[in-house]
């Protein structure tokens, strides 16, 4: 099956073409809260010192909840907890606005070290991890494994400059997936079916532990009953008959494009379920509630893949975030006004 690339017109209006076109994904965005840098600085001074080993870190996101703004992966003070602080992990459970996304932080001692990290390799390793989790079925059991990020940083604790760069690794299909323009979910699911989809999604989003699992299935049974199910139940709902739609928490707000997390879901569908067509609903909210007028539905066509059962045949990955100038490069933030003891002392005098 060959993919048909749309002409090079404005991507967001690719929906005008009624035919199949390459599915284009809006990238993740990162946002780092000041508390994270304060915690990193104290971790570096008190614990890490000159150690440069990778540190597990947790980002948080929520599905898009505003028609004009995408949501982003946010790093907070709690992102570096590692279970060492007095924050009871139970305190973080049950917060629907904090869907965790796990990451790895590589903090270097010098700016030169930051420059010379092999970023392609780091990205590749993370993508490989995702790929293994798909192959092994771990991702079917815990869909959170499909969303991962990595972050490199250099904390200059003399000038209080923090350099950092995020990557959100996505497995790149050898031939891009295609889709006809999306439909608004409220038009795809009307009447009782729409009400069923809405209530199944709201239920998934409001109970522990499913609320923090960003990928799931919607099963519409032959009798019209709609239920949200984990990815691991694909085979059994297929046997039951009816319709199965893959769903994911979409951080993206755009009317014609899905967000980045769909990429790894499509890779998962191709590798683990061996499907070539998949109906997908981009789950979005309005004022914190499921809203089918904001959700969009794609009928995705996934091209034939090479034989990935051969473990040496690792697919390509992409995902380094562009900086504030939309260039390939890191970001930096200067926090001397809130961290530099000299400045703090003179401001207090």
């Amino acid at each position: 099956m060959s993919s048909f690339k749309g002409n090079d017109g404005p991507e967001t209006s690719s929906g005008r073409d009624e035919g199949e076109a390459t599915l284009k994904f809006a990238t993740w965005q990162s946002a780092v809260d000041e508390g994270f840098w304060h915690r990193l600085a104290s971790l570096k001074l008190d614990t890490l010192q000159l150690a440069e080993h990778p540190i597990p870190v947790t980002g948080f996101f929520a599905p898009c909840s505003h028609p004009q703004v995408s949501s982003h992966v946010q790093l907070l003070l709690e992102s570096l907890d590692n279970g060492q602080s007095r924050n009871n992990p139970a305190d973080l459970l049950g917060n629907r606005n904090r869907v965790p996304i796990s990451g790895m932080l590589y903090n270097t001692n010098t700016l030169e070290g930051f420059y010379s990290l092999d970023k392609q390799l780091l990205l590749k390793n993370t993508a490989q991890q995702i790929w293994h989790d798909i192959q092994s079925g771990r991702a079917a059991e815990d869909s959170r494994l499909l969303n991962r990020f990595l972050m490199i940083s250099h904390a200059d604790l003399k000038s209080w400059n923090f350099f950092y760069w995020f990557a959100f690794p996505a497995i790149k299909l050898p031939i891009p997936a295609t889709s006809a323009p999306p439909k608004i979910a409220s038009e795809v699911f009307d009447g009782n079916e729409g009400a069923g989809v809405l209530s199944a999604c709201n239920h998934w989003r409001s109970v522990t532990p499913t609320m923090t699992h960003p990928f799931f299935l919607l099963h519409i049974s032959v009798s019209g009953l709609v239920q949200a199910k984990p990815l691991s139940e694909w085979e059994s709902v297929k046997l039951e008959g009816g319709k199965v739609i893959a769903a994911f928490y979409d951080p993206c707000h755009l009317p014609n494009n899905p967000g980045w997390p769909l990429r790894n879901l499509l890779a998962f569908a191709a590798i683990y379920w061996h499907v070539h067509t998949l109906q997908v609903i981009c789950y979005r909210e309005r004022r914190g509630q499921a809203d089918l007028k904001q959700c969009i539905v794609f009928d995705v066509i996934i091209p034939q893949l090479p034989d990935w059962s051969d473990m040496s045949n690792v697919p390509e990955a992409i995902g380094w975030e562009l900086n504030a100038f939309r260039k390939v490069g890191p970001r930096s933030v200067n926090l001397s006004s809130s961290m530099d003891p000299y400045k703090l002392a003179s401001a207090a005098a």
Binding site: T12, R96, R287
Partner: protein
Amino acid sequence: MAFTQRLHEAFKGAVERMTSHRTVSAFKEKGVLTPDEFILAGDNLVSKCPTWSWEAGDPNKRRPYFPANKQYLITRNVPCLRRAASIEEEYEAVGGEVLLDDEDDGGWLATHGALCGNKGEEDNLPSMDTTETPDRQEIRIINAYAGGNEEDVIPDMADFEEADNIVETDAATLQPPYLVANEPDDDNILRTRTYDISITYDKYYQTPRVWLTGYNEARMLLRPELVLQDVSQDHAHKTVTIEDHPHLAGKHASVHPCRHSAVMKKIIDVLMSRGVEPEVDKYLFLFLKFVASVIPTIEYDYTMDFDLGGSHH
């Protein structure tokens, strides 16, 4: 920070440490809340407006009179499509804002005075209609990194770009990578600022207190001074000040709570004069409604499409 402000903060801190918190409700009499009532009102806000949630915050900054996992409230990633300052120019064009009498009304502004018409005693009671969303206007990108000056930002960026060879070509990546309310032509990239809005309990004033953490159009931390562009200009530097957040790191813009109880008392009185018996768990809806006059362009959720009080009329 003005010296008098710091002196006051020190005094307030000392009083807060030495006095116990309010335990008897004085919601209707004084417009204030006990910590228990704050939790009650916060629980109601979180259940009606699920974009809000409770946070535990830094364990070292925990207030003992609140449950560990309910220290303050927050709503994240709230869009702010245009600067409050630019809206005010438009208001001035149609007759300007009405600054209400300082004595009676605590200096709060009837932000929409000129547009919404007159006037009278209830004018400082914010309208219960949903605030109309202003027409979108293009905002240009501001390179607003937290702290520091332009010159100490990204010293070696040029070297770095040269040195790095990451080229990710991919037909399936949507360009530009982040969007864009209305993309104007060429390089005048329009982006949307966003805010994290938190509500803490101020023990000294016995009222909630609102804090603003801004992110620029590229989701980089905004310097608190730039946050003041999104505050109604008559409040910037007066009722809105930049201070240490009680639970979060760093300086954040905050609506100073010294007049909150007086305004809340006034709102409660107006409701009661209309025969509506206000319920304390609705406090934060009323409170957020009046905060909207201070930050008119930040579109946070405080929708209340249910009865304000318990009584029917």
